[in-house]
């Protein structure tokens, strides 16, 4: 790792001040992506602004028909939350299957969302559930938040503070994992709400998480796995790597989507 200064502000306002004052500051949440990145010297921030001391970024609350989860809430806490298990069991299950147990004890919702790794799990949940990303400056719909590979709508001095997930009628997430890293080779989150059906795919797209409108309209008319027969995602814009070709990923999108619909019951 290159050298950096570590700052641990106690309030969000102090964190934003520290971020603006730094030459090239980076926000440290759970560090499960940032630390490996620093260790490989793929980044050289002047300052790490550690959000772990900010109480207002922690915790899980019910807000009407939605669950609001603070950005610094760990995956293990989302998975174990009785509120999340009751309101959106698919989200609790997703959180409980991220990485491994030790990663879940450190990694955070806000870190995952702000990093927007193309194989991360939470972006699929945000997009399929129509979540709202709350930041230090504004609220951003998930549809507008994830803008590309490791890219989001966040400004340099903007920090994710919480995510608001509306509870769906039914939802499920199915993931085909890389057996070593446990990142999604393909993950599909399906959610049915009063407004319709949303299908979000992670792990596959070369621009990160994306929705599949053809699947959504087919499932809105007939919410069964068989409604997806014959709907193929073209491999043109999908990732190809040593783990899976674009064609294989395209195939897996169909399989995982059908399994997710079946799991909705």
């Amino acid at each position: 790792m290159y050298e950096f200064d570590h700052r641990r502000p106690g309030t969000l306002a102090d964190a934003l001040d520290a971020l603006r004052a730094a030459d090239d500051g980076t926000v440290l949440a759970g560090g499960q992506t940032l630390l490996p990145t620093l260790k490989q010297r793929l980044a050289s921030p002047s300052d790490l602004i550690d959000l772990s001391g900010i109480a207002e970024l922690q915790g899980i609350a019910i807000d009407g028909d939605a669950v609001v989860i603070g950005a610094m809430t760990r995956h293990a806490d989302v998975a174990a939350s009785s509120e999340v298990q009751q309101k959106i069991p698919a989200l609790a299950a997703l959180a409980g299957d991220i990485g491994d147990r030790q990663v879940r004890n450190r990694g955070t919702l806000g870190g995952s969302v702000a990093n927007n790794d193309p194989a991360a799990d939470y972006p699929a949940a945000c997009l399929a559930l129509g979540a709202t990303i709350k930041t230090s400056a504004r609220e951003i719909a998930a549809d507008d938040f994830f803008t590309g590979l490791f890219e989001t709508a966040l400004e340099d001095d903007e920090v994710v503070t919480a995510v608001r997930f509306p509870a769906p009628d039914k939802a499920a997430y199915m993931k085909f994992k890389n057996p070593a890293s446990r990142y999604a080779i393909v993950g599909v989150f399906v959610a049915r709400t009063a407004d319709g059906v949303r299908v979000a795919v992670t792990g596959a797209g070369d621009g990160g998480v994306f929705r599949v409108p053809e699947m959504e309209s087919a499932l809105a008319a007939n919410f069964t796995p068989s409604a997806l027969e014959g709907i193929a995602v073209p491999p043109d814009d999908l990732n190809s790597d040593i783990h899976a070709s674009a064609e294989y990923r395209a195939h897996l999108v169909g399989v995982m989507a059908r399994r997710a619909v079946a799991a909705c019951g």
């Binding site: 499960q32 260790k39 990663v103 450190r106």
Partner: protein, 156 residues
């Protein structure tokens, strides 16, 4: 530029001067000379570096020392009571849950955290639950057996 850190390690208050980039595992091994915690892959995959931070298992190669400021850390050295091994350590010894032993400290620390939530843990749950720990000897069969026995012993 070094900073001062203070935490509790295996029940004792410790402090030291480290650079902010010092990993927790480096602090434990190089500063405190607690070399039971191992560095295997150094990429958060193998789990040889697992310690407990405020009671839950974490990978100490993927944490900065400064992130453990004020925390309570337990390493493999902190489990035994004098000559009496922790029930999970004893279970690994009884069931031949180790071959070369390199992964063992991390396996034991992960296992204790895993079964604490779930004393009636099944073999399938153990196999899934230790997916953050790799054994290069591939001695998983007896590791799983050890964890099941250790869970029963910890309950009793």
């Amino acid at each position: 530029m070094s900073v001062t850190v203070s935490m509790t390690v295996n029940g004792k208050a410790v402090s030291g001067n480290v650079e902010p980039r010092t990993l927790l595992v480096q602090f434990l091994r190089d500063h405190l000379r607690l070399t039971g915690t191992h560095v295997g892959c150094d990429t958060s995959q193998c789990g040889a570096c697992v310690v407990h931070l405020d009671g839950v298992s974490v990978k100490s190669c993927t944490m900065l020392t400064v992130q453990a400021e004020g925390a309570a850390v337990t390493t493999i050295e902190g489990l035994a009571q004098g000559d009496r091994l922790h029930p999970m350590q004893e279970a690994f010894r009884e069931n031949h849950g180790l071959q070369c032993g390199f992964c063992t400290p991390g396996m034991v620390m992960s296992a204790i955290d895993l079964v604490r939530d779930n004393p009636e843990i099944t073999e399938d749950e153990i196999r899934k639950g230790i997916d953050g720990n790799l054994c290069r000897c591939t001695g998983y069969h007896n590791i799983v057996k050890s964890i099941k026995a250790g869970a029963a012993a910890m309950k009793g």
